[in-house]
C-alpha cells in the first residue's frame, strides 16, 4: 500500500481567554483532531497558603473536597468519575491547588459540572476528617521510605526557606493538630474565584463550553485572603545519615524565575546539562565514568524566584567523585558550549512542541503554568521562535553573568561528603 506523509509545522494554536467579573480566568485551546479533552481548575490554595503550624493542610483540603460535594456523596463522585472515564488527579504546588482530568471528549460537560460542585460546594463532612487525616499520615510515612524524596524535600526547604519550601505532604505535628475548623477556614479563605484559573484543551466547542462555565461559575464569590508570609533559604550542606545502598545526592542553586525575559537562556543551559542522552551530565557522569544510574537537573520556579534542582544516586564509595564531577560540569557551562549542543536542543524543543499536539493534558498544564507565572499564554509558535533565535554567545554570556553559586546540597547515605568551597 501507499501512504502519504504530510510535513507538520508547529500549528498556530487558537487560545481563547475569558475573564469573569469575579476574577476567574477561563482559557480554552480547541484541538479538534483529538478524541479526548482535558481541563484543570486551579485555586490559590497551595502549600504557601497553609498556616505555618498546619503543614499538610492544603493537600488534606484536596482530599476533603472530594468526600462529598453538592448533592453528591463521596461514592457518587467516584462512581461519576469512573463512569465518565476520567483520568483524574488533584494536588497542590507551592501556590496552587489544582483539580484536573483527561477524558473521552464527550464527557467534558458532565465533568465540568461535577468539578464545579467539588470546588464551590464541598460538604467537608466532619465525620470524614479522621479518615482523611489517616490518608495524610500514610503519605507522610511513604515519603520516609523514599530516600530520593526525602533528599529533595529537605533540599527544597534549604533552597527556598523552611516556610516557602515546605513539602505538600506536610509534617506530623501539622497533620496531628489539624481540626475541622482549620479545614472550614482554609476553604473559606482560599477557595475563591479571584486568581483562580480554569484551563481546557482538546476536542470541544469553545462557545458551548464557555456558556456552560458562565452558568457554573458566575455566582462564585470572594476575594482571596491576603498573600501568605514568605522566607528565603541560604547556601549550605546537610547530611541525613542512613544505612542505604546508595548515597543520594540533591543539589540546587538560585536562578531567575520562569517569568524573567532571560528564562530561556537559563533553560537552554540546563538543557545542555541534562536534556537527552548526549547531555553533559548523562554523558560525563554516567556514560563515560559509569558513576551512577540516575542523574538529572531541571528548572523550577516560584512566582518571584527560581532554582535549578538536581539529583544523582550512587554507591557510597563513588559518591564524592559523582558530586565533584557534577558540580564541575555545571560550572563549565560558563566556559562555553558547542553550536551542535544548542542545535540538538532546538530540534528537541521543536519536536516536543509538535508532539504536544497529540496531548490535551500537556496543553492544559502549559496554559495553566503560563497564566499563573506570566499572566498570559505563550503559544508554541512563540516558544519555538524564541528558542530558534538563541545563540551560543547569548547562552554562555547568561551563564557567565549568572554563575551558579550559593549551592545547597543534601545527601542521604552512610557517610557525609565534602562540599567543594569554590
Amino acid at each position: 500500500m501507499k501512504t502519504t506523509q504530510v510535513e507538520f509545522e508547529t500549528p498556530v494554536e487558537v487560545v481563547h481567554t475569558h475573564v469573569l467579573d469575579n476574577g476567574l480566568v477561563i482559557l480554552g485551546q480547541p484541538m479538534p483532531w483529538l478524541r479526548t479533552a482535558a481541563f484543570s481548575l486551579a485555586v490559590r490554595a497551595g502549600i504557601h497558603a497553609e498556616p505555618a503550624n498546619r503543614g499538610g493542610l492544603a493537600s488534606l483540603m484536596c482530599e476533603m473536597t472530594q468526600r462529598g460535594a453538592g448533592k453528591y456523596s463521596s461514592r457518587d463522585i467516584v462512581e461519576l468519575q469512573d463512569n465518565l472515564g476520567l483520568d483524574h488527579s488533584a494536588g497542590v504546588s507551592s501556590s496552587l491547588a489544582s483539580y484536573g482530568a483527561t477524558m473521552p471528549a464527550g464527557a467534558l460537560s458532565d465533568a465540568l459540572s461535577l468539578y464545579a460542585e467539588i470546588i464551590l460546594r464541598p460538604q467537608l463532612p466532619e465525620d470524614q476528617l479522621d479518615d482523611a487525616l489517616q490518608v495524610s499520615l500514610q503519605e507522610l510515612r511513604a515519603v520516609e521510605d523514599e530516600p530520593t524524596q526525602q533528599v529533595m524535600i529537605r533540599l527544597k526547604q534549604l533552597q527556598y526557606g523552611d516556610l516557602s519550601g515546605r513539602p505538600s505532604c506536610g509534617n506530623l505535628a501539622g497533620i496531628e493538630s489539624t481540626t475541622h475548623q482549620d479545614v472550614s477556614k482554609f476553604f473559606a479563605d482560599r477557595y475563591r474565584p479571584a486568581g483562580a484559573i480554569l484551563a481546557i484543551a482538546g476536542s470541544f466547542d469553545w462557545n458551548a463550553v464557555l456558556d456552560q462555565c458562565l452558568e457554573l461559575f458566575s455566582d462564585w464569590r470572594g476575594e482571596p485572603a491576603s498573600e501568605p508570609e514568605v522566607d528565603f533559604g541560604q547556601a549550605g550542606y546537610e547530611h541525613i545519615s542512613q544505612d542505604s545502598s546508595q548515597t543520594h545526592i540533591g543539589f540546587s542553586f538560585d536562578t531567575i524565575p520562569f517569568k524573567d525575559k532571560d528564562f530561556y537562556l537559563l533553560r537552554a543551559g540546563v538543557g545542555v546539562l541534562s536534556d537527552g542522552m548526549s547531555s553533559r551530565l548523562f554523558d560525563r557522569v554516567r556514560e563515560q565514568r559509569g558513576l551512577c544510574y540516575t542523574i538529572s537537573a531541571g528548572t523550577h520556579s516560584l512566582k518571584d524566584r527560581g532554582a535549578v534542582f538536581g539529583y544523582a544516586g550512587t554507591t557510597p564509595e563513588r559518591a564524592q567523585e559523582t558530586l565533584d564531577v557534577t558540580l564541575r560540569e555545571i560550572q563549565s557551562l560558563a566556559s562555553g558550549i558547542e553550536t551542535a549542543e544548542l542545535d540538538r536542543l532546538k530540534v528537541r524543543v521543536q519536536s516536543s512542541l509538535i508532539m504536544e499536539q497529540e496531548s490535551c493534558t500537556s496543553a492544559v498544564a502549559s496554559m495553566l503554568s503560563d497564566w499563573y507565572h506570566r499572566g498570559r499564554v505563550v503559544t508554541a509558535r512563540e516558544i519555538e521562535s524564541i528558542i530558534e533565535a538563541l545563540t551560543v554567545d547569548q547562552v554562555v554570556q547568561y551563564w557567565r553573568t549568572h554563575a551558579p553559586k550559593e549551592f545547597r546540597v543534601v545527601t542521604l547515605g552512610p557517610q557525609p561528603l565534602v562540599i567543594p568551597t569554590s
Partner: protein, 415 residues
C-alpha cells in the same frame, strides 16, 4: 483512518505498522523476543545488561554518536527489558523516520566492546543498588522467585550483584548471537508511518543479519541449587522502613487466553487505585497507603498481584480485611453496577491512550511478538464489552481460590 500493514522479510524479520496519516509523530520499535526467562544462572541479568550495551556503539558509530544522533532526531527514545522481551523504541517527527530507522537498526548490531562492557557493568550495579533503596525493597522480585521459582519467569531482570560481577563479554556475545536473530524480532511502528519506505530500508539494512552460526546453548542450570545471590524466604528484613509491604501472586490467564479480559476487569473491580472494593475499605479510610490488585500476562502463564502497604502494626489486621474481601468476591461474585463501572473506566482509558502513536506502538509490537495478532481499538473495546458477570465469577474462582504466594518486606519478623 488507521490501516494495519504487515510483512515478513526473507531473513525472518517481521514488520508491522498501524498507519495513521493524521498523526503528528511516528513511533518505531524493535521488539526482541528475549528476556530474563531465557537466561541461565551464569547469564542472569544479561538481557538487561545487553539492552544497555546496545547504546554503546556499532561498527559505524561510537557510543557518543549513538546518543548524540538519538538526541539530534529530537524525539523520545528508550529501551526496556522484561521477563520475555527486550524493546528498543523511539518517537520522532515523520520527517525523521528514515534516520531513526537507520540508527535503531544499526544499534541492533552492537560492538559490545570490552571497555564499554566494564564501564556499563558499574552502571548496572548502581541500578541494582538504586532499587535496593526503594520500596518495596525487592519484594516484587522475591515474590516472583517464590511463585515461579528463581529461574524462568521468576528470574530477576537486573540479575544479582553476584551474576553481574561475574558476567563476561563472551557470555554476553554468545547470548546475543543466540537470541538476536531476525526471526526472533518484530519491527513495529505506529502513527504517521511510511510503511513502504520502512520495509525497503529494513530489508536492505538487515540482509546480513542471519549470517553466522549460532553458538550452542549454554550448560543447563543445576536445579537442585539456588542461583548465587538468591534466597527465597518469605520475609525481607527492612529495619529502617516506616511502612510494611506485602506482595502476593495468584494464578491468572496467560497472554493468548481469552479469559484475560475478565481477569483484568476483576482486578479493576477488586483492586483498582480508585473506586474499587479495596479503595473504599482500605484507602478511603486511611488504613493503608496502597492496596491494589492487577494482572500481568506472560506467554504461557499469568500472575494476579495483590499489593498492600501500611503501618507495620496494622499489617495483620489489614491482611485479614483483604482476605475477607477476596473470600466475598469468590463467594458472591460482583454486581452488574460494578462490572459496568469497570468497563466504562477501562474503555475510556483505552480510547485516551490511543490518541498517541507512542502508546499504540506497544499494542502493535506486543500483539505481534507475544500473540501473533493485531487488535485494533474497536475490537479491543468489543472484547471488554463482551465480558459477563459469569466470566468474572469464573475468573475469581480460578485466581483467588488457590492460596497465593506471599512476600513481606518489613522490620522484624512479621505477621
Amino acid at each position: 483512518m488507521r490501516t494495519f500493514c504487515e510483512t515478513t522479510l526473507a531473513n525472518g524479520l517481521r514488520i508491522a505498522a498501524e498507519v495513521d496519516p493524521r498523526g503528528y509523530s511516528v513511533s518505531l520499535g524493535y521488539f526482541v523476543r528475549t528476556g530474563a526467562r531465557d537466561e541461565t544462572d551464569v547469564e542472569a541479568g544479561v538481557s538487561h545488561f545487553l539492552e544497555h550495551m546496545m547504546f554503546k556503539g556499532t561498527a559505524k558509530r561510537t557510543a557518543a554518536d549513538v546518543n548524540r544522533q538519538l538526541d539530534e532526531l529530537g524525539g523520545q527514545s528508550n529501551a526496556y527489558t522484561s521477563e520475555e522481551q527486550t524493546v528498543y523504541y523511539a518517537t520522532v517527527l515523520p520527517k525523521y523516520q528514515d534516520r531513526i530507522v537507520d540508527l535503531l537498526t544499526d544499534m541492533l548490531r552492537p560492538s559490545l566492546a570490552d571497555a564499554d562492557f566494564q564501564t556499563e557493568r558499574q552502571v548496572i550495579l548502581e541500578e541494582i543498588a538504586k532499587y535496593e533503596d526503594q520500596p518495596p525493597f525487592g519484594a516484587f522480585e522475591r515474590v516472583m522467585e517464590r511463585h515461579f521459582g528463581p529461574r524462568g519467569l521468576g528470574r530477576r531482570i537486573l540479575g544479582t550483584k553476584e551474576s553481574i560481577t561475574l558476567m563476561t563479554p563472551k557470555i554476553m556475545k554468545d547470548y546475543f548471537a543466540r537470541r538476536y536473530s531476525p526471526e526472533n524480532i518484530v519491527l513495529a511502528a505506529a502513527g504517521n508511518v511510511n510503511f513502504d519506505s520502512l520495509v525497503e530500508q529494513a530489508t536492505l539494512m538487515t540482509a546480513a543479519w542471519a549470517e553466522g552460526d549460532k553458538p550452542k546453548a549454554p550448560r543447563a542450570d543445576d536445579e537442585s541449587k539456588l542461583p548465587d545471590g538468591i534466597t527465597v524466604d518469605a520475609t525481607i528484613e527492612t529495619p529502617d522502613a516506616s511502612q510494611a509491604y506485602l506482595v502476593r501472586v495468584s494464578p491468572a490467564p496467560p497472554t493468548k487466553d481469552s479469559r484475560r479480559y475478565a481477569s483484568r476487569l476483576l482486578s479493576t473491580i477488586v483492586g483498582d487505585e480508585s473506586g474499587s472494593r479495596f479503595f473504599w475499605e482500605m484507602i478511603d479510610t486511611g488504613r493503608a497507603e496502597a492496596c491494589a490488585m492487577w494482572t500481568q500476562e506472560f506467554g504461557d502463564d499469568g500472575a494476579m498481584f495483590t499489593y498492600l502497604v501500611c503501618h507495620p502494626d496494622e499489617m495483620t489486621a489489614n491482611r485479614k480485611r483483604v482476605d475477607k474481601m477476596i473470600r466475598q468476591v469468590v463467594k458472591d461474585g460482583v454486581t452488574e453496577t460494578e462490572l459496568a463501572q469497570a468497563k466504562n473506566k477501562t474503555i475510556a482509558s483505552c480510547i485516551m491512550q490511543s490518541d498517541r502513536p507512542s502508546n499504540r506502538l506497544f499494542g502493535v509490537g506486543n500483539g505481534l511478538q507475544m500473540r501473533d495478532e493485531y487488535v485494533d481499538l474497536d475490537e479491543m473495546l468489543e472484547r471488554y464489552r463482551k465480558v459477563t458477570l459469569a466470566d468474572i465469577a469464573k475468573a475469581a474462582k480460578e485466581s483467588l481460590v488457590p492460596p497465593p504466594t506471599e512476600t513481606f518486606a518489613l522490620a522484624g519478623a512479621g505477621s
